[in-house]
Symmetry: D2
Subunit: 363 residues, 4 copies
Amino acid sequence: MSNSIGTQFVVTSFGESHGRCVGVVIDGCPAGLPIGLDEIQAEVDRRKPQSSAGGTGRREEDRVEALSGIFNGRSTGAPICLLAWNKDADSSAYSEIISRPRPGHADYTAFLKYGKYNDFRGGGRFSGRITAGFVMAGAIAGKLLAQRGIAIIAHTVQIGDVKSDPHPSHITRRYIDKTPVRCADPAAAKKMMAAIQAVQKDADSIGGTVEALALNVPGGLGEPVFDTLEGELSKAFFAIPAARGVEFGAGFGAAAMRGSQHNDLFSVKNKKIVTLTNHAGGISGGLSNGMPIIARVAFKPTASIGKSQQTVNLKTGKKVDLAVKGRHDSCIVPRAVPVVEAMMSLVLCDFALRAGYIGRIIS
Amino acid sequence: MSNSIGTQFVVTSFGESHGRCVGVVIDGCPAGLPIGLDEIQAEVDRRKPQSSAGGTGRREEDRVEALSGIFNGRSTGAPICLLAWNKDADSSAYSEIISRPRPGHADYTAFLKYGKYNDFRGGGRFSGRITAGFVMAGAIAGKLLAQRGIAIIAHTVQIGDVKSDPHPSHITRRYIDKTPVRCADPAAAKKMMAAIQAVQKDADSIGGTVEALALNVPGGLGEPVFDTLEGELSKAFFAIPAARGVEFGAGFGAAAMRGSQHNDLFSVKNKKIVTLTNHAGGISGGLSNGMPIIARVAFKPTASIGKSQQTVNLKTGKKVDLAVKGRHDSCIVPRAVPVVEAMMSLVLCDFALRAGYIGRIIS
Amino acid sequence: MSNSIGTQFVVTSFGESHGRCVGVVIDGCPAGLPIGLDEIQAEVDRRKPQSSAGGTGRREEDRVEALSGIFNGRSTGAPICLLAWNKDADSSAYSEIISRPRPGHADYTAFLKYGKYNDFRGGGRFSGRITAGFVMAGAIAGKLLAQRGIAIIAHTVQIGDVKSDPHPSHITRRYIDKTPVRCADPAAAKKMMAAIQAVQKDADSIGGTVEALALNVPGGLGEPVFDTLEGELSKAFFAIPAARGVEFGAGFGAAAMRGSQHNDLFSVKNKKIVTLTNHAGGISGGLSNGMPIIARVAFKPTASIGKSQQTVNLKTGKKVDLAVKGRHDSCIVPRAVPVVEAMMSLVLCDFALRAGYIGRIIS
Amino acid sequence: MSNSIGTQFVVTSFGESHGRCVGVVIDGCPAGLPIGLDEIQAEVDRRKPQSSAGGTGRREEDRVEALSGIFNGRSTGAPICLLAWNKDADSSAYSEIISRPRPGHADYTAFLKYGKYNDFRGGGRFSGRITAGFVMAGAIAGKLLAQRGIAIIAHTVQIGDVKSDPHPSHITRRYIDKTPVRCADPAAAKKMMAAIQAVQKDADSIGGTVEALALNVPGGLGEPVFDTLEGELSKAFFAIPAARGVEFGAGFGAAAMRGSQHNDLFSVKNKKIVTLTNHAGGISGGLSNGMPIIARVAFKPTASIGKSQQTVNLKTGKKVDLAVKGRHDSCIVPRAVPVVEAMMSLVLCDFALRAGYIGRIIS
């Protein structure tokens, strides 16, 4: 039980994969923000299975509706409830997972926690589908950040063992959305596509890594010692199903570095204090330092694969083989890109409100 | 501002590197737990500079005192205040960092957030010294977990480019504390020592990685969708100064794996459901699955190095060179081992209380 | 911004008086609780204008729908979203309050906080209508409490200067709902009805007091020193529009008492420790003592009256007279009775979960 | 377990009546506030037994020390730990309450919650002594409020059945501290003194009521719908041992009023919008309206009385008589005055920070 995140921009998630809807309540959006449902819809559409490579054949319509908090096209300061009604849900394929948990899925742990009452249909609360709600909330957070010039952008940097090496100027949404894998490096993107097709042929799946950047973040955001930028961002990223690792700046690579290499030297550029390198990923002491914030999130391969796998029948206690039916993503990484953006937007928006950098009325 | 962590086992940190003391208030410890200050002291002593390789020449006495919450040798249910008075603090070396922030340190970001009022002496709130308080709280959390048979253990798995490959049976505190780098692989430990000595000779520093395990954790701990085990653990780990990355199970390696490789197949062992591999690191859907929880935390090299580095004089706006004086760790990784253990203990204790797995009175 | 209440049983409110709906998300309901919408509907129906004396002529249909968290007729452990779509909303009467705030209403303070973006229609978020959502959540909390034998009951004890003096055995829902003012003392109820009719004739309104009792509460619930039973209950009661005072046990009367009168002496009854009197209202040191919990909430007279009143035109800064149109309650006290019950249920359910008195799976 | 209060100005209380100390950690104080220990000491001294009528013969020295968060005489933005070491504690009188709970005290409920591990000496955590820490924190909150011109003042308005009727211009600290009962009406103060002496002669105690005002509060503070001004203030007031009721403005008296009487009509004074009366006590819709905030807190008579009272021996289950030894206040109301001020300061400071009305750096 913990379906809310944030302290000043509080997002409460509800809904299940095959229930009536997936939605969020956003508490703390300042009054006066112009909100068009089409803008939110555009973000949610980027998360759809058919919008990128590796997605399933499912068609999710995900038409976003606003139930509260918006009046005359603007936020009122009241909680904003957004949701999308579920459609195209075929629960029949899931009946057997009640007693036979799928390897790599949360079926077994959900059973341990909620007993037989867990809504297992389509993964219920543990389905990637609930991230559609995260994206709705992220769209509003992103609009608030944009009011202060802060931009968030994410892109695929690895699928399988293919890594991207994009030109920095190509890390723009226009460029990223050109490739079906949301990679800013066209050559790598082709190889990533090939890697996905290879696992599809084998009824298998593959993992990858997403990088997220926050640009134009003012210095001093973050609330040490426990609500650090890294701490809150990583907590938010790990709410995305399949996330297995989070790092900032030089990240795990920093372990092999010397201080004289890793330390970012200070300098002055256009009368502003900058660092000559950005191994810190824009964060020092848990606080933003004014340089771009850089985070990477590693995703495991999709748990659902067509291959037969060993599990245990919870009723009999015997080992059984299970082939997961239904349509599944062979690689969720490209679809995770807008979700990573959303989580980063939520967290930075919360910190900007905590610091008073975004005010209580937008006018 | 956010010096508390936890929901049921709430730890509030206070104190500065060169202030009067470093301490914690622990709110939520069940009544009746036998608490000996010597046990807490033993944990705090493991964090001392002189207790492991790479530490400074500073002598920190860190005598732990209990100010509240303990009566007749047991917790009462009231908040427990623990602290260690500061000694041996030489603040003179820090006077120049007010205007000349040290590269890699939080001096500049602290200035951005708190202005000229920040207590910069010895890094103030951003010093690794405040983790002494985390270890005090972790010692109590660890005792509570031990009541239910849960054991937490951490060890160094990488320093520089030296990685350990310990025999699983050697991952015990007795074995780990045998080497000054807290590595369970004696051969790797020697190479790690050499790596540290090499950077010391160059007045430089080096990073590394710590792995933490939680054994005998019951299934179903964790509070999805936002308070996942990974999310809360990573948030806690990132409160340790110098942490740059956190991963679970296969972690970043999962990005290059296929689902058929990564999925942990279910099996039955001694009538208990287990998985044949543990790429999930004991966590599925944000919930513990009964297998060992495995996390790794990457640390950057110590920011303080003897070499001269470029910074900016905040008053004049001009570039200047700065050589950081004072005694510093050339590698904080061995000292981070007990801190990583403490943070894992705090988080798991909180989840065990949330789930009712630890009761409100220990008898 | 703070539309969530509770720590373990967290209720998030959304919706406006004349928006699309009024609803709640309930996070923390244990899995396995049988939930019938008809039971929730029955509670919500008690709050309807036409269900008691003093209500408006408005017909609110308030058909409760469940959007999430219920599967096969039982809670799943996931967040439960409940709402009622709004109908019969005539916003035209409210257009003039944008610039001319109604005396006694929140129009002016909402303007101060949210500026011109506040949804003023029908009072928006400040309308008593949002308490319909509180009652939905309270119905579920009440069911959880009932599982452990805890019963919550509220009744009108004062309207205007008429006070009730019910026979203790009459404080039952069956008896209370017999009178249109929800008073357990039939003689007083008649006088209360007369008092309401008198103010209605004058196009005026009248206040009153509601008493709430919690029976069979185990000893030791409450979380001192700040989350006392009194503190959390009063905070919840003050979320009901028009509440002006809260007291427990002897309450304000205790100010005039001596210790020898007020102290409840301990005794033994049926081998259980009881107190001979209950001036403490079942709470000592912020903790339940096993005796009935007794709270009283004073409500001001409805702010909306037919009489012309002086206000200020916010645009011109000039004094103007305003006659509030629309249909309004002349006395909201009888309708507040189920809301007071709901708030008490929410708070006690939260404390019962915090203490582990209600488990995480109901079976 | 809940020893923290506030969201932006978070106060964590620790310490026991007869433990080593009583203290607080304050998290969220903006950087740059000049803090003199003498100012805090002056507030704490007002709470001392010997500083007002009705107090005990105990001498509490209560010398306030600062352990962290202050540097060069100003707050740094880091958590501020303040405490007073305990002295003059004679625990011998309390040994018998382990098994024989005192009527009117929390001995029995603490036993229900914490079992035999509760620190019963002098009431432990349930003693009024812990409010010394509240006053330390309130002193800092009061200084922050004063920076923005907000003033908090409390005074005794009732002791026993004696009520005060002060001239509004006499409600100043100078005037209030002139009388040993902290009453702004000298004639009533004399009668209150007589009432206290009467109960002292009888080895009895007496209750009373404190009124608190907040002046110059800007409009729009408060966070509906759950974190209302009334809700948070009442929660804070009920953390004061012996508080039994809280009301705002007309309070319980509003129950007997008509809307046409109670509604505060808007007017214009010096180009500012005001209300002609202040039955709302400065709060509408949970938000401040710019008029003085007025709250009243009713206190029960001190539970400790010299008279013999019936209790139950928890070990034998038999009724026994108990005469509470030790030195006790015959009326705690005058000593509660600075505590009520402190709680109001804490809450308003928190709301002012939430609204951004007090900034993050004071310069």
